[in-house]
Structures are given as structure tokens and as C-alpha cells.
């Protein structure tokens, strides 16, 4: 793999990371909480897609539709029943609550599905292996292109929703000042529940793509959380387009690291994250808050 091709592959990998990260970014932007269960929720979504696809013999992309409906409802109830009790109690309580949710999801998946590694790749057909060769050394993975396109559509759609719809304006207003929003008849709990539902839905899409692209098991969530968190911080907490940039930077760093040494791939991403975090710009991005 040459360097240019590594960059191209990294951009497409970054699309997946951005998809993982956008729900994390949205929840931080609106509710000011870091959802430590985000990766596990994505894996839960992957299992829901897998269960529907295998039970009904559906293509994973078709199975994603009913899975999204289920996960939207799950996200809404998660906020209404659990997260709402931790909001407004400082920063530690939501962290502990979401950490607890992560443990419950992981162990629930272990109980229900065993620790076996699974994949949705075989059920997705040839899409996962198809590629378009641009030159002798550069090729574009079709599935990577689809993932990147979906990431752009999801992030763009969220951005449009936040800017141009009543629901989005309520989210931005509540993100800035939930008490004042309440004085205008906007109940913060309702806004938070919608934001959580959307974040869980985007995580489900990301989880499904992860499952199609490779393998997953009940313990896959924390790794995805780390990648998502790095993408969010690189791009600036709460900034949706920044999240896309952050995901791509992380993906490119990992791809370039893999060119140097396959074992260096993940570490290269972490190093870039730490370097960006250490710069004044990185610190200001990390502290930037919601700019969606």
C-alpha cells in the first residue's frame, strides 16, 4: 500500500469513525454529557440488525430499517427512564450512569448471544469487497464510499435539522440554557429524549456498518467508544462537521500508521489524538462546547 492509497483508505475509514462519533457529539452538544455507553449502544444496534437479518433472512441494510425504529424507541426510553435522573447532578453522575449502562449492555449481550464473534459481511453480498481501481496503486472501496456518503448525509441532515427546524432550534436553545427554555414552554426532558433517540439511531447505523465491514462481539463497544471520542475531541466537542473532520484525521492517521507497521495502526491514531489535544488549538477545540 503506498502513501497516497493509505490516505484514501483512511478517509473512508474516517467516515465510519465520524458516523460513530456524531451521536456522541450530539449528546454532548445538547445535554453536556459524555455517553460512555455509546460504543456499546452501537454494538447493541449491530446485534439487533444481526438478529433481524438472520431471523427473517433479510439483507442487513433492509434489516437496519426496523432496527432503527426499535433503537429510536430504546434511546427515547433510555433518556426518560435512566439518563434524566442523572442530568443536573454534576459531571460525575452522568458518567457513572452511562458507565453502568455500558456494563449492563455488554453483559446482557454476552448472556443473550455468547462471546462468539459475528459478522454481517457475508449477508451483505459483494458490496463489502467491491472496489473501483483508479490507478495501479490507488483503489476506492465501494463499501467505504457508501459509509462515507452515509456519514456526510447523516451529519448534514443533523446540521440542517438543528439549523432549520423547530425541533432543532429547541435543541440548540436547550443546549444553551435549559432553564430559560423551560420558561418558554420547552421541557428540557422532552428535548433530551429526542436527542438521545437520534444519537442512538446514528450509533445503530454505525454499528451495522461496523458489523458489515468486519466482525463484532459483546466486548467491541469500548474500542469504538475510544475511536468516537478521539474523533469528537479532534473535531471539537459538539461540532458536527468538526466530527467528520476528526473522524477522517483519525482514519488517515491509522491507515498511515499501518503502512509503517500493521501493529502501529491503532497507536498512530492515539498519538495524533494526543498531539492535537496537546496543542493550544486542540485544547480550545476540546473545550469549545456545542457549535452545531
Amino acid at each position: 500500500m503506498n502513501w497516497v492509497n493509505a490516505v484514501v483508505q483512511g478517509i473512508f475509514l474516517g467516515g465510519l469513525y465520524a458516523l460513530f462519533a456524531c451521536g456522541l457529539s450530539l449528546l454532548f452538544g445538547v445535554m453536556r454529557i459524555i455517553n460512555l455507553a455509546h460504543g456499546d449502544i452501537a454494538v447493541l444496534g449491530a446485534y439487533v440488525v444481526w438478529a433481524i437479518a438472520t431471523s427473517f433472512g433479510l439483507n442487513p441494510f433492509l434489516a437496519l430499517v426496523p432496527a432503527l425504529v426499535l433503537m429510536l424507541a430504546f434511546g427515547y426510553l433510555l433518556q426518560r427512564l435512566v439518563l434524566t435522573r442523572s442530568i443536573g447532578s454534576g459531571q460525575l453522575i452522568p458518567l457513572l450512569a452511562t458507565f453502568g449502562i455500558a456494563i449492563v449492555i455488554q453483559n446482557g449481550l454476552l448472556q443473550a448471544f455468547s462471546p462468539d464473534v459475528r459478522s454481517l459481511g457475508p449477508q451483505a453480498g459483494g458490496l463489502t469487497t467491491a472496489s473501483a481501481r483508479l490507478t495501479d496503486t490507488i483503489s476506492i472501496p465501494i463499501f467505504g464510499l457508501v459509509v462515507l456518503a452515509v456519514a456526510v448525509v447523516v451529519l448534514g441532515g443533523l446540521q440542517l435539522m438543528l439549523r432549520h427546524t423547530g425541533v432543532g432550534r429547541e435543541m440548540r436553545a436547550t443546549a444553551q440554557d435549559p432553564d430559560t427554555a423551560g420558561l418558554l414552554g420547552v421541557p428540557a426532558s422532552s428535548v433530551y429524549a429526542r436527542a438521545t433517540a437520534i444519537a442512538v439511531a446514528t450509533a445503530t447505523v454505525a454499528g451495522a456498518f461496523l458489523a458489515v465491514r468486519g466482525t463484532f462481539d459483546p466486548a467491541s463497544g469500548p474500542t469504538q467508544l475510544i475511536f468516537a471520542f478521539e474523533a469528537v475531541v479532534i473535531g471539537g466537542l459538539g461540532s458536527l462537521w468538526g466530527t467528520l473532520v476528526g473522524g477522517i484525521v483519525l482514519g488517515v492517521a491509522q491507515s498511515l500508521g499501518a503502512v509503517i507497521d500493521p501493529q502501529f495502526s491503532i497507536l498512530a491514531g492515539h498519538l495524533v489524538f494526543l498531539v492535537i489535544l496537546a496543542t493550544p488549538r486542540g485544547r480550545s477545540l476540546a473545550m469549545g462546547g456545542a457549535r452545531a
Partner: protein, 245 residues
Amino acid sequence: MTALLQVERLHARHGLLPAVRDVSLTVAEGETVALIGANGAGKTTLLRTVAGAHPASGGRVVFDGVDVTAMRADQRVRRGVALVPEGRKLFAELTVEENLRVAGRRARPGRWDLDTVLDAFPALAPLRARTAGSLSGGQQQATAIARALMTNPTLLLIDEVSLGLSPIAVDGVYDALARLIADGATLVLVEQDLGRAMAVADRVLCVLEGAIVLTGRSADLSREQVTAAYFGVDHAADRTASELP
């Protein structure tokens, strides 16, 4: 006139400190009431407790015949109570129009919508695309009042009407309030400027250390009586105006 708001033996605290003590008051439909008092007297807490933004520790708030004491702020808004909070509390990163639209999305039915509000506050029309954080103090206060109107309230509570505003901006805000009052709006104002408060209000309530120490019609109260009650220097003021000599 029928009582739109009844506050009965209301108490509120900040932690262990009592901020509102045994306050009872009524506001009739179409009436303008001014709450005056020194900094820290409890006016803002009283207003926020009526609006549901601060919990009551005792007593009750009855609005339009319904006990709303246990209701959240957003539920009281849907019943017709709106508060313009101290410091305006606009959503600084949203535009003027977005601030108004947020308030209008779940509004009660009524005369106020984006068009009628901009007609009532024509100075805001050219500013609708500006972010609220970039406005002057007077423009922000006008936006805050307009935003509260977008909920179509039957009771409008305005905290610190003129605080931090230039004299010209204060004139503009009071011109707008005068138009609302002429339209029959029911207002409760917190105001530090005694002259302004007494000029615009039907009744004045003076708050001292969380309790109401003087009530009376603006026309019946002398400036000296109000000033004495304001600073708590004359305990004879701890009576209604009708009882004063």
C-alpha cells in the same frame, strides 16, 4: 376585576436561607403591579417562584383558578404564565428570529405570532437575522419581552425591566410596555427605578427581606412612604397604604 394570580402564604429558600417569607398577593386581570425593593430583597425569587423556575418551600400559587404550585415552568407557560428573566437570558448564539420562534413553537393560541410581535416591536424587524448576543442591552430587553409574548401569556412577569439599560433604551422598553398595558395585558414588574415603577403600575408592592412590607395603589402612595419601606427605615410602613396616616 377577577384575580388572575393568587399567591397564598408563599415561602421560598436559597439553601437554608429564606428568600421569600409568607408572601400573599393577588393580581387582577388587566392590572399592572410593580414589585420594588433593594437588591437581595427577594423580588426575583418571588417572581421565579410564581413562574415555576424556583421551588416553593411552602404556600401555594393559584393561577386562573388552578393551583400551579407543583407544576414545572414549562407547564405554567402552557397555562399562560411567562417570565422575562433578570439579565434577559436570550439564547446568545441563536438569532433574534430563532429566539422568537423557539418561544412560539409550543405557544398557546392567541394574538401573538412572529408578525404581530415584530409589529409591536418594529425595532426588532431589521435585527431578526442578528445573533441575540450581538444586540445592545435595550435591543436584548425588547427581544426578551417579545419572546415572552410569543408564548401568548395571560400574565407577563418581567424581572428588572430597566437594569443595565441606557435612559434611551429604558424609554423604548417602557413605551412598549405602555402599549401592552393599553391593550389590557396583565403585568407584574420588578423595577429598581421607583419613579418608573410608580408611573406605570396600578399598584406597588414593596419587598423587604423576603416579605411584603408595603402595598398600595400607586396614586395613593407618597414617594417618602415607598422610600422608607424600600430601605426598611420606617417600620410604620409595615402596613397597607390604606392604614397609613
